[in-house]
């Protein structure tokens, strides 16, 4: 590694010398204020792996169980996320169905799988097959994972429907709420810099 380590601001291109940060500290660009790097705990990626594993269990629950149940004059209906995507598809709203599928299922699943794939191998001191393209992929699809927006959308639908019928929140709604928190926590804990440095050292 070249000393002293340099870090560039990705928003204004200003170059900084990497300074040692106090625990929990964050370095920001002196010119534009953009985030540069954080002081990460030494076991940050262990924590990220644990959170990603917990999130993947909730992901299964969130997709197996119904999101909402509806009762109108004795007729009950409920829907899981996949049912909802399928009914949009059958309703000739195919582009919308694909958009919902990608942002609420495919991207979150890929992100969790990729993180677990790379970090379990790193934990054993190994370099997972395809680790580098996998981390690139995770980085590039991150903005398209929208679980938190989806949770708010389900809550809005719940209130909208409550005016005309009896609505029950399903197990998947709670699972999605917890999944949202765990995905955010895993992403926050993940120390990409440490992962890249270790991947390079193992090569």
């Amino acid at each position: 590694m070249s000393a002293p380590a340099l870090v560039a601001c990705l928003e204004c291109d200003l170059l900084h010398r990497q300074a040692r940060l106090p625990a929990g500290g964050e370095a920001r660009c002196t010119r534009c204020g953009a985030h540069l790097f954080r002081s990460a705990r030494p076991d940050a990626n262990e924590l990220a792996l644990a959170l990603a594993l917990a999130a993947s269990i909730l992901f299964v629950a969130a997709n197996l169980f119904p999101l909402l149940g509806l009762e109108v004059r004795g007729t009950r209906s409920s829907t899981t996320l996949l049912d909802a995507v399928r009914s949009l598809w059958d309703d000739e709203a195919r582009a919308v169905a694909v958009l919902v599928f990608v942002t609420t299922m495919l991207v979150p699943a890929a992100e969790l799988f990729g993180l677990i794939w790379v970090l379990t191998a790193l934990r054993r001191g190994a370099r997972a097959w395809g680790a580098v393209p996998m981390l690139h992929f995770i980085e590039s699809v991150k903005p398209w994972g929208m679980v938190e927006v989806f949770v708010l959308g389900v809550l809005v639908s719940l209130v909208k429907l409550a005016t005309i019928a009896t609505v029950e929140p399903g197990v998947a709604l709670y699972s999605f709420g917890a999944l949202m928190a765990l995905i955010a926590a895993a992403a926050a804990a993940f120390d990409a810099e440490a992962a890249w440095a270790r991947l390079e050292a193992i090569r």
Partner: protein, 208 residues
């Protein structure tokens, strides 16, 4: 203004994926990050042209997104077609003020503000403006974060269509406005991702 030490000025390149700073190769050859093999660019390629292209496309689709119905509700009493705005009005008149404000903000304010902000950002870079670079960078950061919340209405339509599909009393179907609105959100996200905020600061360096 004294020349600030930027990677561009020092003949270095910063990796946008793993953040490693490395020496730029001689001009004409493709640069790759020595650590993560990502393609390196001093600035995002064709940033302004791509930003404008996505932005103009999103503006065109913004018209059908707001004029076509995003949802058709048919019941024994007839069919009701809801656009984004009439959906908000319905929430307001039925007394859900907080929800009406939330949906109004996510579906109307955010997309409009995002498109306007991108016009200001791309326009000011195009004109090599030097005003308030820090504020403009912050504006970019905000729209990059806020754009995703516009997907709210798409998810609401998804849930309503699924739950009230083949009911004896009513059925809800997605309208053509939903696809147009989804496209607006996707295109503005692409526009924001194509824009390179470092261009804002490059104009400053040219000042004497």
């Amino acid at each position: 203004m004294s020349a600030a030490p930027t990677t561009a000025r020092l003949g270095l390149l910063a990796c946008e994926v793993c953040r490693l700073v490395s020496r730029a190769p001689p001009p004409g050859s493709d640069a790759h990050c020595p650590r993560c093999r990502a393609a390196l660019h001093a600035r995002k390629p064709a940033s302004l042209a791509r930003t404008w292209a996505f932005l103009i496309a999103s503006m065109i689709l913004y018209v059908p997104a707001n004029t076509l119905p995003i949802m058709d509700t048919s019941s024994l009493f007839g069919t009701q077609r809801d656009t984004i705005l009439s959906g908000v009005a319905f929430l307001w008149t039925s007394g859900s003020f907080v929800l009406a404000l939330l949906v109004f903000f996510a579906s109307i304010v955010v997309p409009l503000a995002k498109m306007l902000a991108l016009v200001v950002l791309a326009g000011s870079v195009q004109l090599r403006a030097a005003w308030h670079p820090r504020t403009r960078t912050r504006l970019y950061r905000v729209i990059e974060f806020a754009g995703r919340w516009s997907m709210l209405d798409i998810y609401v339509v998804t849930i309503l269509v699924a739950l009230v599909q083949v009911n004896t009393l009513a059925s809800i179907h997605a309208g053509p406005g939903a696809a147009a609105f989804g496209a607006v959100v996707v295109l503005t996200m692409f526009a924001a991702a194509s824009f390179d905020p470092r261009l804002i600061w490059d104009a400053l360096g040219e000042q004497p």
